[in-house]
Symmetry: C2
Subunit: 395 residues, 2 copies
């Protein structure tokens, strides 16, 4: 018996465990200091009322003979797919319901989608990046080329016309940088994919944070994208579902490579290796689209956005270069005085008891950068920014 030896090529990330250890040491040395964490990559506001009510109602149903649901369709219930179809339709994107697949989250599908691709494909991944794109391809031994994201291109890299790759990852608004592609940039991406017979895996997990009108929230706002892109989305950041687990993946029927259809292959993959998202959870996700649900989730998103704005304003005041913050819960900043990522981490921790995430943890181009997030309370964010304001004033 032979195991998958590609796992030997995976690197263990010590990023978050190292942060935890450093913070613990600091707290032990400074028991009187109030540490504020702006490194959180997880939502903190509770599920909204409409969702909770729907979850409770569905739970009760499942306890009755008439309301009980056994195996559901692996690709999701129509009641939820119809809402997603409408959600896209309202943004002038026409999807067929059989192009929508309900999932337990974007992370699962971004990993599992690789099942339908040959191992021979060359993969294009921006650096810095959400580590899952890299690790899932290492597990399959695909050749990876990195696309340099940096201050010069505002962390929004675009492949050269002649760059050859088969599968390309785009995350916009980006994790970790918060940078968001505009229509023109995404059009260049789509044209590149069409010309190179490549497929784009578009991670739209943060689309609900897009505030500016001219910024696409879906790759399908770009002409031709249905012939070259799969889109992954999630209720995690939209409606605080990080622990509730529901998302969706769009695999257009127009995608066609030889005599195989990615849409039909993904359906086959999911019906073979997945049994669908819990009925109860799908009912909860459906409630996100109700009138009250939409109002309630927007309140939460706006709460986080207000925090992000506060961080952005503080950085602007001190002329610190950053991306994100407007269309994203993340702010990605250049460490002042050319500090390295960990140096700035220590600087913030030991001077103002503020915890963030060193950018170097997301790839080599993250060195010298730093991520702050808007997922703490308004009060804590405000306090943190007052401390930062003073500290930077002294610099």
């Amino acid at each position: 018996m032979e195991l998958n030896n590609n796992y030997k090529n995976l690197q263990t990330s010590y990023l978050f465990s190292t942060i935890a250890k450093k913070v613990l040491d600091y707290v032990n040395e400074n028991p009187d200091k109030e540490v504020i964490r702006l490194g959180i990559g997880d939502v903190t506001k509770p599920l909204c009322k409409s969702v909770v009510e729907a979850l409770k109602k569905a739970s009760c149903e499942m306890g009755t003979q008439e309301g009980f649901h056994g195996y559901g369709p692996e690709q999701g219930y129509s009641f939820l797919k119809d809402e997603i179809q409408k959600y896209y339709y309202n943004r002038k994107i026409n999807l067929k319901t059989q192009e929508i697949f309900i999932s337990d989250g974007a992370k699962s599908d971004l990993g599992n989608i690789l099942d339908i691709f040959s191992k021979n494909n060359k993969v294009l991944i921006p650096d810095p990046v959400y580590p899952v794109y890299v690790d899932t391809n290492i597990m399959d031994d695909r050749e990876i080329i990195f696309l340099e994201a940096n201050q010069e291109n505002s962390f929004l890299p675009i492949p050269d016309k002649n760059l050859k790759a088969d599968i390309a990852y785009i995350c916009s608004p980006n994790n970790p940088t918060g940078a968001t592609y505009n229509k023109e940039q995404l059009t260049t991406w789509v044209n590149w994919a069409l010309e190179n017979n490549a497929i784009i895996l578009f991670d739209a997990a943060y689309e609900s944070f897009v505030s500016e009108d001219n910024l696409p929230r879906s790759i399908y706002e770009i002409e031709g994208a249905k012939s070259c892109a799969i889109e992954f989305c999630s209720f995690s950041k939209t409606a605080g579902f990080t622990g509730t687990r529901c998302g969706y993946t769009i695999v257009p029927e127009d995608l066609s490579y030889g005599d195989l259809s990615p849409n039909k292959m993904w359906l086959r993959r999911q019906t073979t290796k997945f049994n669908g998202v819990p009925y109860i959870i799908q009912r909860g996700a459906q409630a996100v689209f109700s009138e009250n649900g939409q109002k309630e989730i927007l309140e939460n998103i706006n709460y986080y956005k207000k925090n992000a704005l506060l961080i952005a304003q503080t950085l602007k005041k001190h002329n610190i270069w950053f991306t994100g913050g407007i269309n994203s819960p993340y702010i990605w900043l250049k460490c002042p005085n050319n500090m390295e990522s960990w140096e700035f981490f220590n600087f913030l921790l030991y001077n103002i008891a503020l915890v963030g995430t060193p950018g170097c943890g997301f790839g080599k181009n993250g060195e010298g950068f730093f991520r702050l997030t808007s997922f703490n309370t308004y009060e804590a964010t405000k306090e943190a920014m007052e401390r930062l304001d003073n500290l930077l004033g002294d610099l």
Copy 2:
């Protein structure tokens, strides 16, 4: 861009769609006849009270600041893993909590586990069989050899000492045959695996239906199994979770092949491609292990078992050979008068409006056999057996 061409080798199963079409034709021709379905492969009783209460409570929690849960551990919450550990401990099996991985069901994990194995392994699969074992390996282009299950070995095949394979599937109690290995037989399997450096993927999804004392409910009741077997289990059939989605997989730390550890690899696979089972659902699963929960789920299991017994008794009366029914919700019978599977299907449908599943749909050795299930109501099962009794009496 190249797709995974192995998908071209998958066969489309028309089994259940053909059944549906035949039944529809019959109903249209015979609108006055009451059709009884004993082909159902899904539970029909609602979730038990304790589980519903736990789901509702957890839903409410998620709507409060104090009770909200974001990202949980990918491998599952301790509160549920601890219960599973106790569940095994009560059967004299000691597991470490880090050997227990909470999943969204056995089907997902049985498919996804292949990620950690090389494509070069040779796979041993019994015939007839749950089609997922075959299809997931075709997707990866692994060489498959079939182990003949038939009336002669009571559909409980055991590999010859000299048979060479790397990965072997066992499903006991079996889907579709209901046949269940005893301790001696499983010991032979474990010894074969240990001698051949093979790994056993043990599907225990139906373990809670085991009634007879001498039959193992876990492969780990067999000495040496922790060095050669991964076990998959699920709340689907145990507690009616087919639409609620929760299961667990045991990957012992003792498993070791070269310098890679399947336990650590599976942890890495799950933390990279999975985000855990919803908090709410894990709370529901935890309630299965409460005193009331155990009482309530046993009532449901006994309800199905009573149906199975009724079917078994009817077949016995007419000297029809069968397996299952005692330790399984499934009854696998030899079609009387040497009828072929579809012939018997039509015979039952057109004579007594009874629907079952032709055995040939589960592999070539299923030809001439037929599956009945205990998942309908007691009243319908009783009525069906009265009709069958009369029909077989006339044969």
